[in-house]
């Protein structure tokens, strides 16, 4: 919810609020992308996860799989932190996905990408 606030703070308009909930794994991340991209008005996607019970490396694996299977390509901005952060960043890096480490920076970037 705070992610939406920060996007708006940076001058963007959130199209969809999707809270994957605590402990989300790969399947949930995949499903989340499918739901979000059903909306044709979505011009960019921000993944912002600070994992506690959720493991950041599971989220990263989900993002990597989702990107490979997406029905349409939109700019993707990823920020992952928290539990298993180092493993997550390694996975994303090996898959050629750049990750940001600050929510503010990520929000600013996705607003820019959606313009």
């Amino acid at each position: 919810m705070a992610t939406m606030d920060v996007i708006q703070h940076h001058g963007g308009q959130p199209a969809n609020f999707l809270d994957v909930g605590g402990g989300a794994g790969v399947a949930k991340i995949l499903a989340a992308f499918e739901i979000i991209l059903e909306d044709p008005r979505v011009r960019a996607v921000l993944v912002n996860i600070f994992g506690g019970i959720t493991r950041a490396d599971d989220v990263a694996a989900g993002v990597i799989q989702a990107r490979a299977r997406l029905s349409r390509q939109v700019p993707l901005v990823v920020r992952v932190a928290g539990t298993n952060e180092a493993q997550a960043l390694r996975l994303l890096h090996d898959a050629g996905i750049g990750a940001l480490d600050s929510m503010d920076e990520a929000a600013a970037r996705v607003v820019e990408a959606a313009r």
């Binding site: 920060v6 609020f17 932190a81 952060e85 600050s102």
Partner: protein, 293 residues
């Protein structure tokens, strides 16, 4: 000093034999927490991978008797979590941290009077737990590596927001005395006012960051308490400024109903009580760090 949990905490984990339970119990232990027992009905004597030396009992009463536990961490699925809380309260544990999301409200209505009568302090449900960095104690699932010991108390209705702000505080050189996630459900144990009172009384806490969100009136009650009783500086961030009304936003308790529970109303109440309200989580961290005595 700290609040709720210190180096004397001896923690039993209900649901330690499950996937999330065993995984996060290992992380709690890596942080330094004394994990003295697991409890899963019907699994007494079970061995859990990576936790071979932690005995598993059928009941909380057995774990208290054999391992002298004084705090509990609950990873039990929602249908059974209310009973898990009742077992802890009946055993007289000091602190019960319940992480479980989705416990029926009617279950919690049944549980709360018995928790109050027992003298146990319930944190949660649907919360990330409690972390005291200086004593190397973490009960719950907060990422340990963002924490650093120091004078700031953090109390929050949201797990993710807690981690976010703790990270910023740490980056600013403002370590934490204790961070407390009170949970995102409509019915929870300790509320903002309870935790604020503990921070106000704790000599090692010199300022507090409060992280609220839309729904209910806990932030308004916190504002009244701060105005009347608190001498320490408080900053706050309220999530959900952009949330549409009458929609549940991620947490069961996060909903704006009619005129009540909106972010602007909560921010106004806090501001009038002298609380520094941040525009973003990072801003709230900076406001407090700048005011530390």
């Amino acid at each position: 000093m700290s609040i709720l949990l210190d180096a004397s905490a001896r923690v039993l984990v209900q649901g330690m034999t499950g996937g999330q339970g065993s995984y996060h119990t290992r992380l709690m232990r890596e942080a330094g927490t004394a994990i003295v027992a697991g409890v899963t009905p019907g699994r007494a004597g079970a061995q859990v991978e990576g936790l071979d030396d932690v005995p598993v009992f059928d009941t909380v009463a057995d774990a208290v008797r054999a391992a002298d536990a004084n705090a509990a961490c609950i990873f039990v699925p929602a249908p059974f979590a209310a009973d898990a809380i009742l077992e802890d309260a009946a055993a007289g544990l000091d602190v019960i941290v319940c992480l479980t999301e989705g416990i029926p409200i009617l279950d919690m209505l049944r549980v709360m009077p018995r928790v109050r009568a027992s003298g146990s302090r319930l944190i949660g449900p649907n919360c990330p737990g409690v972390t005291t960095p200086g004593d190397r104690v973490k009960v719950g699932v907060m990422p340990w590596n963002v924490h650093t010991p120091g004078p700031v108390g953090v109390v929050s209705r949201s797990g993710t927001l807690t981690y976010e702000v703790v990270q910023h505080l740490t980056n600013l050189g403002a370590g934490q005395s204790t961070t407390v996630g009170i949970g995102g459900d409509p019915i929870i144990g300790e509320r903002f006012t309870d935790v604020l009172a503990l921070f106000e009384a704790d000599p090692d806490t010199r300022g507090v960051v409060l992280l609220g969100e839309i729904g209910g009136d806990d932030e308004e009650r916190a504002a009244a308490y701060i105005q009347q009783r608190m001498t320490k500086p408080v900053s706050a961030f309220i999530a959900g400024k952009t949330a549409p009304p009458e929609r549940r936003m991620g947490h069961a308790g996060a909903i704006v109903s009619g005129a009540s529970g909106s972010a602007p109303a909560k921010e106004a109440a806090l501001r009038s009580a002298g609380v520094m309200v941040g525009e973003t989580p990072e801003h709230a961290a900076r406001l407090l760090a700048a005011r530390l005595p």
